[in-house]
Amino acid sequence: MKSMLALIKREYIEHRGAFVIAPLILTALVFGAILLGFTVGRVDVRFSGSVFQLSPTLIYERAFLVLGFAWSLYLAGALFFYGAGSFSADSRNNAMLFWKSMPVSDLRIMVAKFIAGLTVLPASILGFALLSGLLVLTVMSVTMAMTGAAIGSVLPMLLSGFGKVAAALALAMVTQLLWYLPVLALVSAMATLVGRWAVPVTALVPLMVSILEWVAFGGLSPFHTASWAYLSSRLETLLPESYLEQWFIDESASFSLGRFTSELLMQIDWAQMLVGWLLAAVLVYAASEYRRRYVLT
């Protein structure tokens, strides 16, 4: 356990540029933009103009949720490149033989990399998402207070909105991570084979599978095969879209964590989720065996 934690920490140190430093810069930029928006009058902080007839809480919840989803997109991209980078990093950094001189198996090293990609690194991005939400909340509260708005009655509602949206973001991130586990495993396994070329190679895998099926069994085109349909459905985003559309249109409803959660969980095909986990386990094991047997530098 001690060595596993040490290996996970090593991943954090190696990849903190993508998961800490870059998000920190982005957060600073977002903060600057929010500050500017409020101070130059782009946002009506009195919430009494013709544009904003909404309550501050509703605006805040929407802004925070949009920011949170932007961070989720960043996480998806960063994890994809993390898989491609971290599973080939020891070769690229010429450190393979150092790690092989340690009393840890290749499987343990690969599992540590994978676990880091599922825990510490997403947790860091979630932390920045929440920090962004708190910054918006702070700037909103301060500017409202400065313009004489009744912040005392609004602040508890804003904090409640923060809590609900934060919980929704955390849940959405966890479910997306679990759903896309095989994609992360695939790009990681590919990286063990082909290094950073794993990024384009992995992107081509669905197309190659469909072309093979089309060539072997026929059909209108590679995009009308069973494998393409399956992979397309497997890559669809897990989001409670109908609830979110309704909530964004309805200008009076506060964010409902309950409805968001129930609709999100109902969307999940748990059998497919399990299949994905098994596939991910097989891919990580295969990658570790390949590394054990054939990767020396």
Binding site: S3, R10, E14, N93, M96, S101, L296
Partner: protein, 295 residues
């Protein structure tokens, strides 16, 4: 578990093919505990492949046991008692020195972080420095400190001083000998700068084209091989009659290396001495191939 009498490494019929070409031709050897072995050979002779087989980094045909274990099947377990440096540039460059030491301490049960820090005292290596900021010599010092702080039974060094200047190389080997080697530890080392490690070797192994052409203790080498320096050209032919394994001309003088010829008999033709390991290596590399496995 291995008893004291048991060799620390045993190889029987060790073969390795790469790309359809056999690069190890059925090696047989035992390495006992407490010895300092030098493994010498040309580039491509199979030294690194042999070391990789010992370290469990590659699979081979035949049988190999290190500390009683199959290294390829149980590399991770074996590394608790085996340390190696295969390339001084292989330390993770993104880590700071203190992070590296803490990491190894958390991963390696036989690593003594305090000892590593003590070994680094007096060097220019700062704990806050990143490995990538260190010079090549400093990285070698750091890697050696990490390895020397591991309480291992076997230490394998594959070209550990490649690219380092003479000062660092000398310091590296002196430190290894003075601060690390004990009777319980075995050291197996390959280097092209064989003259620099000759003073510390107890045994020598020469490899040529995937075969072990020499494997003996240094004392036996001194007894078995002789070098004859002939200044008088008329003595060359009678000396040749004794069957030198190697002959060359240096600055107008003839140098011959003999295998198993009485030194008393040779002294009649010129000055007799023991060949250096590098002279012996050159001599034996030129000799026609001996039957496989004969070492």
């Amino acid at each position: 578990m291995t008893s004291e009498a048991e060799p620390i490494i045993t190889a029987r019929g060790l073969r390795k093919k790469l790309g359809g070409r056999e690069i190890l031709h059925g090696l047989d050897f035992d390495i006992p505990a407490g010895r300092i072995y030098g493994l010498v050979g040309h580039n491509g002779a199979g030294k690194t492949t042999t070391l990789n087989a010992i370290l469990g980094l590659t699979s081979c045909e035949g049988s190999i046991r290190v500390l009683g274990e199959d290294p390829f099947a149980r590399r991770a377990q074996l590394m608790r008692n085996v340390a190696f440096i295969s390339d001084v540039a292989s330390l993770p460059r993104f880590l700071r020195v203190r992070e590296l030491l803490t990491l190894v301490a958390n991963i390696h049960p036989s690593f003594d972080q305090a000892k590593a820090r003590q070994l680094l005292e007096g060097t220019d290596i700062r704990m806050q420095a990143r490995v990538k900021e260190l010079s090549k010599g400093m990285v070698a010092q750091l890697h050696l400190a990490v390895v020397m702080a591991i309480d291992a039974k076997l230490l394998v060094l594959d070209e550990p001083t490649l690219g380092l200047d003479i000062t660092y190389r000398k310091r590296f080997y002196r430190r290894l000998l003075e601060d690390y080697m004990t009777e319980e530890r075995t050291l197996l080392i390959t280097t092209h700068q064989v003259d620099e490690i000759e003073f510390m070797l107890s045994d020598i192994m020469f490899m040529r084209d995937g075969d072990l052409i020499l494997h003996m203790q240094m004392e036996a080498v001194n007894e078995k091989f002789s070098q004859l320096l002939i200044s008088d050209a008329t003595q060359k032919e009678p000396a040749r009659a004794l069957g030198p394994v190697f002959e060359e001309t240096r600055f107008g003088q003839t140098v011959m290396v003999f295998d198993g010829v009485d030194r008393q008999a040779l002294s009649a033709f010129g000055q007799v001495s023991t060949p250096t390991v590098s002279d012996l290596f050159v001599a034996l590399m030129e000799r026609p191939t001996s039957p496989r496995g004969e070492a």
